[in-house]
């Protein structure tokens, strides 16, 4: 199965889930996604997703000067983002449960 196709469907939720841990900037978020195992996630996909989620009011952002290089834009979940994550997690768990049941029937 092409995992990149699966990833496209859940990238929003994955980004929101990382941001639930606390605010972070794009590059660090990307690193966290990859360290979590989503190593096929595309850089531009994540930045585009951040832009879209921010535009939808699900994220807040703040530009913070950095001593180590260019300013960083930190993203955090807004109240709407927290609601969306909660809804998305429920949807994912319901979907995963259905798939798991199908797999078990297949194995039986």
């Amino acid at each position: 199965m092409d995992s990149t196709q699966l990833l496209k469907g859940v990238l929003d939720t994955a980004v929101l889930a990382v941001l639930k841990r606390g605010r972070t900037y794009g590059y660090d978020l990307l690193r966290e996604l990859r360290e979590a195992g989503l190593d096929e996630v595309g850089d531009a996909s994540v930045y585009g997703t951040l832009r879209r989620l921010f535009g939808g009011g699900f994220l807040t952002s703040e530009i913070v000067p950095s001593e180590e290089g260019p300013a960083r834009k930190y993203y955090a979940l807004s109240a709407a983002g927290k609601d969306l994550l909660e809804h998305s997690v429920k949807s994912w768990q319901g979907f995963a449960s259905i798939m798991n049941d199908l797999f078990e029937e297949e194995a039986a």
Partner: protein, 164 residues
Amino acid sequence: MNTTLSATTARYLAGVAAELTDLSAEDRDDVFVDLETHLAELEDNRIEDELGDPSPFAAEFRRSAGLEHRRSGRWTMLAECQDAESYPQDHEILTDSGAVRFQRDSFGRIVPNLYPLDLLRYNDYGVLTEMAPPSLGFPDRGVPEPSATESIAPAGSYNSPSGR
């Protein structure tokens, strides 16, 4: 902190900018702040290995962000403002969307023929993009997106858009 971009970083940013000139400044700035931070984390020789060419990067950003392509004109150029002594007539087509890299000599002679233009600069690189100020009556031609070969004339031979 005010940082100086490396030439490689500036060129990459300008390459992405050349693909996103139809977006609002706000939308462009959104990706550039993130991208500058990202590029600062990479060694220059790893930038394209890690991120790929600017054109597909910009296309993927656009797709993921849900930003429509709103290109209205054909006069998008990436100008490389380097010393022109060695390459007075040189130019290079960079993308299928009409971007082209000029040396400063050509750049200087071409700009007056393409007024009005907006120039986004990244150190020694700049992206020139068509502006459409209503006060000047500059027409939104709404032309279909041309192929690279259709939109590029030899360096120094540009005419005004209306003269094409």
